[in-house]
């Protein structure tokens, strides 16, 4: 291991320009991936904010006794998919309608809006099928006149969400693949630069594992350094965007750490593939 470390340091020292170039290349390919992830993260966050507003409103029949309503609220609140149940009296319904409609608030006069039970759903149960199923269950209660949940809106939201997820996964994979290819190519240059050394190692009886070791360390270190640089650049970009255009959310610490680990892993895999290919040839 000591020798592998020494050879790694020697590799950096012998070709400083190549090393800096490959770290920068890694950094920029990961930066592109980082920027994309930042956009994806923020779109996801916005969608999930919108999603959290998915609500089922069950209008109560006139004259439903209070005890029945509160018992029903207890029952509905016990549904595993439900996160919150709220009773909205005709007065509060009117106040809310006025607040929501702004300048048209005067069209509402006295309390003609029915009372309702508003239900918010837990995450993971806000897809059209789940919402519809819960709405149907509520509709079956005899004191409930009608149930609304913005069917079209929920459908559209989910279509957007699915498209965004699919685009995110495909683009993410493409960006990651580009990063792996670029990193692999830069490490391949490092391997080629040391082809003579590798051939001598083979000649005097070094095993493939032994020959690989310094390159794996080199790939790992380059991945970490490139990843850190990419993270710093992405953070800087996010600050600039937040200040000048739109408030964005940056990766959580865990996610940033995961990205760094991903960079290191890409460095490791890129190295392993490059050295492996080279070794198979000699």
């Amino acid at each position: 291991m000591r020798l592998a470390l020494r050879e790694t340091i020697l590799g950096f020292r012998r070709a400083p320009v190549l090393s800096v170039l490959s770290i920068t290349t890694i950094a920029f390919s990961l930066f592109a991936f980082g920027l994309f992830s930042l956009v994806a993260l923020n779109i996801r966050k916005t969608l999930s904010d919108v999603e959290s507003r998915v609500e089922i409103r069950a209008f109560l029949a006139d004259g439903t006794p209070v005890e029945v309503v509160s018992a029903a609220m207890g029952d509905i609140g016990a549904f595993p998919e439900v996160s919150r149940v709220e009773y909205v009296s005709p007065d509060s319904a009117l106040a809310r309608a006025r607040a929501e409609l702004g300048e048209f608030k005067d069209v509402f006069e006295s309390a003609f809006l029915p009372a309702s039970i508003d239900v918010r759903l837990r995450e993971g149960h806000r897809d059209p099928a789940s919402v519809r199923a819960i709405a149907d269950r509520m509709k079956s209660l005899e004191f409930i006149d009608d149930v609304r949940f913005g069917e079209d809106w929920v459908d559209k939201l989910y279509r957007i969400r699915n498209v965004a997820t699919a685009a995110g996964v495909i683009l993410g994979l493409a960006f990651a693949a580009v990063a792996v290819i670029i990193i692999g190519a830069t490490i391949r240059m490092a391997v080629m630069a040391r082809a003579r050394e590798i051939s001598i190692m083979r000649l005097v009886g070094a095993t493939d594992g032994f020959i690989r070791r310094p390159f794996l360390i080199e790939g790992f270190v380059k991945g970490i350094l490139g990843g850190s640089l990419a993270l710093a650049l992405t953070w800087f970009a996010s600050v600039v965007i937040s200040r000048n255009f739109i408030q964005t959310e940056f990766f959580s610490r865990g996610l940033a750490g995961l990205g760094l680990l991903g960079g290191a892993l890409i460095g490791l895999v890129g190295s392993s593939l490059s050295v492996g290919r080279h070794l198979r040839k000699i």
Partner: protein, 232 residues
């Protein structure tokens, strides 16, 4: 120790390099491989250190069989043999002693044992005084000595030399050849491919002549025939 059995070697681009080569090299023997360029001498040496594997036939080197050999076994075999080339193949940015030590380090030799082994190998080739010189500070003959020291440092049973004097002037050639004779005298077999017929003629070592991928003359066979004729 080294055995070729009906060996054929074909390269995808250049075609047949060896055809039906059979050969046995005994422990401690000195063998010259001669013949024109492209005759197949280097291919025979490559098959011996298993850089190449036979297309047909089989090769055994110190109990390792070429057929179905694993890369790990090739690595282990190479620790028991030394190889030197016309172009020395030294690491230019390392001193003579670092080049020799490299051969020990990459096979995980205990660190404490390395300096003494390196000093002994450099002394064996007469280069103790230039241990800290870089290859570019050494003459061709001296660089080849460093390469030989690197090949010897693991106490190989055979030293494989592919045109070791090809890049050297006459004086350096004589020196390197004498060194190989000394190595052989101490019990290590030597297989040396050379164009230098002068060296071949001046010694009475076994000589194998290769032409167009075939052995056309083997002095050991000739000697055996003579012996057989004498007995008859």
């Amino acid at each position: 120790m080294i055995r070729f059995q009906h060996v054929y070697k074909e390269y995808p681009r250049t075609g047949l390099a060896l055809q039906d080569v059979s050969l046995f090299v005994a422990k401690g023997e000195f063998v010259f491989l001669t013949g024109p360029s492209g005759a197949g001498k280097s291919s025979m040496l490559k098959l011996t250190y298993m850089e190449e594997l036979p297309t047909k036939g089989d090769v055994w080197v110190s109990g390792v069989r070429a057929k179905g050999v694993k890369r790990r076994d090739v690595a282990k075999l190479r620790r028991k043999l030394g190889v030197v080339f016309q172009d020395f193949r030294l690491l230019e940015d390392r001193t003579a002693e670092a080049n020799v030590a490299f051969a020990l380090e990459v096979i995980d030799t205990p660190r404490a044992a390395i300096p003494a082994k390196v000093a002994r190998a450099l002394a064996q080739v007469g280069l103790s005084a230039k241990a800290t010189s870089l290859p570019r500070e050494l003459s061709g003959g001296e660089q080849q000595r460093v390469a030989i020291a690197r090949a010897l440092v693991n106490d190989p049973f055979v030293l494989i030399a592919d045109e070791p004097t090809g890049n050297l002037d006459e004086r350096a050639t004589r020196g390197v050849f004498q060194l190989l004779r000394d190595v052989n005298a101490s019990g290590t077999a030597v297989m040396m491919a050379t164009h230098n017929l002068d060296l071949v003629r001046r010694s009475d070592y076994r000589t194998i002549e290769v032409n167009r991928g075939q052995i056309v003359f083997d002095s050991a066979d000739a000697a055996n025939r003579k012996k057989a004729e004498g007995l008859a």
